[in-house]
């Protein structure tokens, strides 16, 4: 009734109710004195109390039953399903929810809920479960950050389970082809069925059996310069013979490209016309490698008839190898200032060091690319650059690329040299990155004497773009990370509560919103995470608030970044003028701007103050822009002196600077850093007359398997002009690079081969010594990186004399690199293996078995799910919707319990009182009739009869009688001992007399006195005084 029911936690206690008859039997006798009615009532109350107590002991609960259903739709967006089918899924969900969802009214949300989860390699929530229809315009929003190169139904199921609201029945509808290649959906689904969650499956049928896949391109493990080698391309043709194609053969063109030093070369000088027979096809390409370099091979197959191949993503494979030669160096330079290091490159070339340059807008994308180099030089390159409106999009080193650089040194032994300039180290926005950790110096200055301080104010108004709050948090954190502990930072946003612009954080001591960063970065990032910026109506108040704090701020560079969609009311010229006057630049970032007009507003603010204007179409570019902008306040880290800064060589014997000659010329500038407090750090050169902690010019240390070098001045373009004519220039830089380079060790003979099978890579190392004898009992291990830079560690076990085998899982497409420590000296072997494509692209048939199993699971308390058949394509969706109602009521209803025993206990206490009352107090109803009569008279307006209260009358009479007696006693006790008519002569205590008088009712004066009745046996004369009686008693006591 009303969806409520009673349940018990410990129902066994209810057996105590069997004792109720016993209670009756005993109580019936003991209560016999109460009269029939009171006895019945007392018995009833007593039974009631007992029952309530037993219920409380049994843990009585009130359970609420809900008829609502929540359905979560899990959309498989993995690549194995054709794109059009994937796009139709959300259309189906929208239609299904609109058709079958049970709707409440607008006043309450008491209705069915629907949500959407999309999944591929992982799962993410597209629409949280909500009592509304699903609406989606165009593409799925969460798709842009979802990896779709695998199918992980299990993760989607887990996410769904965690997402369900509590108080409804739960159903999952999985729309998939069932080809899971990560996780185990069966196990998870079984536990969900136990929890009462129903599962329906909408199977996606994969359209065709016509499929070609390039399995791999294989290269021999041991490549020597000048010898002919074979690249073998393996292509699998899955096409089944049919009427249209009785042989199952597929014609097409095969192309194999070899790429090295940014050049592509077609193997065999042409595309090859090939005919693929059903099954495996192998093609060999013989060629010669002449130059030592890193080579990437890529094989592509293009069918003549596009319909002959459904899945095109598996039509290419790549392989990687490199042939070691003399030392090679990769020099990464700022793309906005290309050719800045030509002089250095030429100088290194003279010293027989081959240098390849890479502009920072076309950076390496994998660790594999870095393997052909023995040293990487970051030459005055900032972390992020570009991005202005008229220029190209901003570019930056992503966190992954920085991690690759560091890993390349730490694990694979490559050298890393950072050469300075005004866009490097802290001034290049590299603070707080992994790179800073790898360098021998810190980029942030903790020394208060160095006044390298900037102030940055961020104004946040981007709440209206998609995921606006998320992006504002990301960019705020990115900007904050660039700042050092001495810098100032403030963040202004529209505070919904106060209805005004307010600082997100304030300094406790000064009360200012523009506060020193110190060690509060993490706290402030936490605040940014919790920020809920509102819709700022106008810019002016925020700019005024900021200006009031920026003007008195001691920082030497002050800057503001404003992010907005451009629709707040613009600031006045007055305030813009004040910014200009105080040399505070305002950079504006238009994101999700409403149109051309909105952009012009922001542009004019930037122009008026001398800042930069960015217009961003894709929010992903925002972090880069904020890195660039925050870097502006890091400028004071640059120390410049046109007169020249003399240098001190602190360790002239070091390998890097030995024999460079006397008298190192002064430089005119360098970047402040702070030497790491670590005994491994060697400072070789520093600026004279500057705090030695911060004046480092050249420092180095070992970092993991590699070495890193920091040179904080430049290579002769601006600051080290005196150096270019100095005879030590070539030697200094070549020795610097050579010292850092990856060591080459050719002791022993090791051959290494790799093999990929079933998502696992097997690495086999054969070890021979100089005399071609097997090397046994080596403690061999390897470390490496996968495509996502995840760590790989493996230990080798010896399987045969000189043969060591290790294995690791490679479930992702991409390059896996390994550095094998042979356990003999410093010898390190590098190897790489490329997994061409994910298992996802190999799937050609739906996994019906899995889908049937999932749908057949019977949820506890409900009925098994359904396989909802139908073609998932636009126009045919109605048929699937008509096929099944995913909101059908076949599941266990949701029950929420609430403990109710305390209420029962309280109630029992109340009834117990009633039980006592009925036994101890006699209730009569004599007063009812007079009361009714009185009320009746009052109603009729009759005068009230004076009802004499008998009890009062009796009391009054009694009082009078007692008063009389007292009076008499007093009179008798005073004087004239008039003879007592009853012979009473003994004087008495007054109280006793009153007590006597009150003991009876009416004319007790006529009654004989108790004293007379209990007169002592010994005769007493009237003359016996009190004293005499006392004496007599004393004598008697003595006698006794």
């Amino acid at each position: 009734m009303f969806g409520l029911r009673i349940a018990f936690d410990h129902p066994w206690f209810l057996l105590l109710l069997l004792l109720v008859p016993v209670l009756w039997i005993f109580s019936f006798r003991s209560l016999s004195g109460l009269g029939p009615f009171r006895r019945i009532f007392a018995l009833l109350f007593r039974t009631f109390v007992y029952t309530l107590l037993v219920f409380a002991l049994a843990g009585v609960q009130l359970q609420k039953i809900s008829d609502k259903v929540t359905v979560l739709y899990l959309l498989d967006q993995s690549e194995s399903i054709p794109k059009l089918t994937r796009e139709a899924m959300i259309q189906y969900v929208m239609k299904e929810v609109a058709t079958h969802r049970h709707v409440g009214d607008l006043q309450s949300a008491a209705e069915d809920k629907a949500g959407v989860i999309v999944f591929g390699r992982e799962a993410t929530i597209e629409h949280p479960p909500f009592a509304d229809e699903i609406r989606s315009v165009g593409q799925l929003e969460s798709l842009f950050q979802l990896r779709t190169d695998a199918t992980n139904i299990a993760s989607a199921l887990k996410l769904a389970q965690a997402t369900f609201p509590e108080d409804t029945a739960k159903r999952i509808v999985i729309i998939t082809d069932g080809n899971e290649n990560l996780g185990d959906a069966r196990t998870i689904a079984a536990t969900m069925a136990e929890a009462g969650i129903g599962i329906d499956v909408v199977p996606i049928k994969l359209p065709s059996q016509q499929e070609i896949a390039v399995e791999k391109i294989a290269l021999p493990p041991d490549i020597r310069r000048g010898q002919p080698i074979e690249a073998r391309v393996v292509i699998e043709n899955y096409t089944q013979a049919s009427q249209a194609n009785p042989t199952g053969e597929v014609k097409g063109r095969l192309r194999v490209i070899r790429r090295f030093r940014n050049q592509d070369e077609l193997l065999g000088d042409k595309e090859h016309e090939v005919v693929l027979k059903p099954g495996k096809n192998v093609f060999n390409f013989e060629h010669i490698i002449d130059e030592p370099a890193a080579y990437t091979y890529r094989a592509d197959f293009v069918p003549d008839d596009p319909a002959a191949d459904v899945q095109l993503l598996n039509n290419s494979a790549t392989a990687f190898t490199h042939v070691r030669g003399k030392g090679r160096v990769l020099l990464i330079e700022d793309w906005e200032f290309q050719r800045e290091f030509e002089f250095l490159i030429a100088s290194l070339g003279k010293q027989n060091i081959e240098v390849e340059t890479m502009p920072s807008d076309r950076l390496f994308t994998s660790l594999a690319e870095l393997q052909s180099f023995d040293c990487v030089v970051l030459a005055n390159v900032p972390r992020a650059s570009g991005g202005e409106t008229d220029n190209k999009e901003a570019s930056n080193f992503t966190d992954e690329q920085i991690a690759m650089l560091v890993r390349n040194t730490e694990q694979f032994g490559c050298g890393l040299v950072m050469i300075g300039g005004d866009r490097s180290f802290g001034a290049g926005g590299w603070a707080n990155t992994e790179l800073e950790k790898a360098m021998p110096v810190d980029f942030q200055i903790k020394n208060a004497k160095v006044k390298a301080v900037g102030a940055l104010v961020m104004v946040m108004h981007a709440s209206e773009i998609a995921q606006g709050n998320y992006w504002q948090k990301v960019i705020g954190a990115e900007a904050l990370k660039v700042l050092g502990p001495s810098d100032y930072c403030g963040c202004l946003h529209w505070d919904n509560f106060t209805g005004g612009d307010s600082w997100l954080w304030k300094d406790g001591a000064t009360g200012k919103g523009l506060a020193k960063v110190q060690d509060r970065q993490k706290i402030w990032i936490g605040k940014l995470d919790r920020m809920q910026p509102g819709d700022m109506p106008q810019f002016e108040p925020a700019m005024r608030v900021a200006l009031n704090e920026l003007i008195p701020n001691p920082a030497s560079v002050k800057h503001m970044i404003m992010i907005s969609d451009g629709d707040p009311s613009p600031p006045s010229n007055t305030i813009l003028g004040q910014y200009k006057k105080n040399n505070i630049k305002v950079s504006t970032v238009a994101v999700g701007a409403h149109g051309p007009a909105e952009s012009s507003l922001l542009q004019s603010i930037a122009t008026a103050t001398g800042g930069k204007y960015y217009r961003v179409a894709n929010p992903k570019a925002l972090p880069r822009i904020f890195q660039i902008e925050a870097r502006r306040v890091a400028r004071p880290l640059v120390k410049e002196d046109s007169k020249g800064i003399p240098l001190v060589v602190t360790d002239p014997a070091h390998e890097m600077i030995q024999n460079i000659g006397e008298g190192v010329p002064p430089v005119t500038g360098f970047v402040f850093t702070e030497v790491k407090e670590n005994p491994l750090v060697e400072v070789l050169m520093r600026a004279k007359d500057i705090d030695p902690r911060n004046g480092t010019i050249l420092a180095a240390w070992r970092y993991g398997a590699g070495k890193t070098v920091a040179f904080t001045s430049d290579a002769g373009r601006k600051w080290a002009n005196n150096w270019t004519g100095w005879e030590g220039y070539d030697k200094t830089f070549s020795q610097m690079v050579r010292w850092a380079m990856r060591p080459v060790n050719e002791e022993g003979k090791f051959t290494i081969s790799t093999d990929t099978k079933d998502g696992k890579v097997r690495v086999v190392v054969t070890a021979l010594d100089k005399n071609d004898e097997f090397l046994n009992f080596l403690n061999m291990s390897a470390a490496g990186s996968g495509p996502d830079l995840q760590n790989i560690e493996l230990n080798f076990r010896q399987e045969a004399p000189g043969r060591y085998v290790g294995e690791f899982t490679a479930d992702q497409a991409g390059s896996y690199l390994l550095a094998v420590n042979t356990g003999q000296g410093n010898n390190m072997l590098l190897t790489g293996v490329t997994v061409p494509y994910s298992a996802e692209y190999r799937e050609r048939e739906e996994n019906k078995a899995l889908m049937t199993t999932l749908a057949a699971l019977k949820p506890s308390g409900g009925q098994p799910g359904m396989l909802i058949e139908g073609e998932m394509k636009e126009g045919a969706i109605d048929r699937i919707v008509a096929a099944a109602d995913t909101f059908r009521r076949t599941l266990q209803k949701a029950v929420s319990s609430q403990d109710f025993w305390p209420i029962f206990l309280l109630f029992a206490a109340g009834v117990f009182l009633a039980d006592i009352f009925i036994r101890r107090v006699q209730v009569h109803f004599y007063w009812v009739a007079p009361a009714l009569a009185g009320a009746f008279n009052r109603f009729l307006g009759r005068p009230q009869e004076e009802v004499r209260d008998e009890r009062l009358e009796r009391l009054r009479n009694r009082k009078a009688a007692v008063s009389n007696q007292l009076e008499e006693r007093r009179a008798a006790a005073r004087f004239e001992p008039t003879p007592d008519p009853a012979g009473f002569s003994e004087p008495r205590d007054i109280d006793a007399a009153i007590a006597d008088a009150s003991a009876g009712a009416g004319g007790e004066a006529d009654r004989p006195r108790p004293q007379s009745q209990s007169a002592p046996a010994t005769p007493q004369t009237e003359q016996d005084t009190y004293t005499e009686r006392l004496l007599a008693a004393k004598k008697k006591a003595k006698r006794d």
């Binding site: 607008l106 009592a131 509304d132 229809e133 209805g499 005004g500 109506p537 002016e540 007009a597 909105e598």
Partner: protein, 342 residues
């Protein structure tokens, strides 16, 4: 505001407290009301919503018909049907009880959503399509009268607009269109959309505007403008060939009688339901409340504090009043409408 401030009693429901002689029950009731009011005042630390009587709340957040997502503007037709535009953007029609009647969408909304609604003299709905620099005209049933669209190009010239915020028609049929952004001005057009004149510019001086968010025309034909970012009301006589500033009042602040981003204005210049003098009601985005003033700017009373509970408001964008004198507040960030009686 202290309870003794002028006008407090006007808005407290006098029919319940001032009945002489007080019966015991009546006294208890008024004491309870007074203490509840006092308590609410203490908790909020501000004048609370007890000063108007909340009658009804409706609205569930969502995107399907009948639901609201940050409603931004409201107006009411002669049949007391409410027209509400939100950021989905749907223009939806509701009864005063919150029953959904019908709804439609504006043709383009990629750049942004409309933020102003009003009725013209023919009973058609004027929609300030802010980010498309134009005024759209719809029939009450939702049919777009494309030939009556005003503007559509961005620019400083006559008939060009930046962010249009509102459009009203005077009894003579002339249109006034307000806009903000780079120009912050009001343009006047004849009934056949010919440009007459314009006034105002970006600034804080009298006659200048910072985001003129809403307009209203009183019985005398004067134009009232809610000058949102200047936190004031400006009244113009624009009937002749030149606009003249008649009066201006308003002071920025959070105290009673002060303004913080007034986003909507409702005029009651004839005196409503027996009230002798006219009043003006302003809805404040920044202070989460509705304030009542006399026509010359003397504070009378207020309703609303920030919050999510019943009777509390979160950044209201609009107000309107029906023929029975009931006030509807767009409780924008709570995605609902609250109706109260003053």
């Amino acid at each position: 505001m202290s309870p003794s401030a002028p006008g407090f009693a006007t808005i407290v429901n006098m029919s319940e407290v001032a009945l002489p002689p007080l019966s015991r029950r009546g006294w208890l009731r008024s004491a309870a009301v007074a203490s509840a009011g006092l308590l609410a005042g203490c908790i909020a630390g501000e004048p609370g919503p007890q000063q108007g009587r909340l009658e009804k709340i409706w609205g569930v957040r969502g995107t399907s018909p009948g639901r609201l997502n940050k409603p931004r503007a409201v107006t009411i037709d002669k049949d007391d049907l409410l027209y509400i535009v939100d950021v989905t953007p749907q223009i939806q029609v509701f009864t005063g009880e919150g029953e959904f009647v019908r709804g439609w969408q504006t043709p383009d909304f990629q750049y942004g959503k409309p933020s102003g609604l009003s009725f013209d003299n023919d009973g058609n709905l004027l929609v300030a399509d802010t980010h498309y620099y134009r005024i759209l005209t719809y029939t009450r049933e939702g049919k777009l009268l494309a030939d009556r669209t005003l503007g559509g190009t961005w620019g400083p010239g006559p008939g060009q607009f930046h962010f249009v915020t509102d459009c009203v028609q005077d009894p003579a049929g002339n249109y006034y269109v307000s806009e903000y952004g780079e120009y912050d001005r009001i343009q006047k057009f004849t009934p056949d959309h010919s440009f007459l004149f314009q006034w105002g510019s970006h600034g804080q001086e009298l006659g200048q505007f910072l985001r003129p968010q809403k307009m209203a025309i009183d019985r005398a034909g004067l134009l009232w403008v809610a000058d949102a970012c200047n936190h004031r009301v400006q009244v113009f006589d624009a009937r002749g060939s030149q606009p003249k500033l008649v009066k201006s009042w308003g002071q920025h602040g959070r105290e009673a009688g002060q303004l913080n981003y007034p986003y909507d204005i409702v005029l009651d210049d004839a005196g409503f339901a027996g009230e002798a003098d006219g009043h003006v009601y302003l809805c404040e985005f920044g202070n989460h409340r509705v304030q009542k003033f006399t026509l010359d700017g003397r504070f009378v009373g207020l309703w609303g504090v920030n919050g999510r509970r019943e009777g509390q408001l979160d950044q209201p964008w609009g107000i309107t009043r029906d023929s029975r004198g009931r006030m509807f507040v767009l409780d924008s960030y709570n995605h609902r409408v609250q109706r109260f009686r003053l």
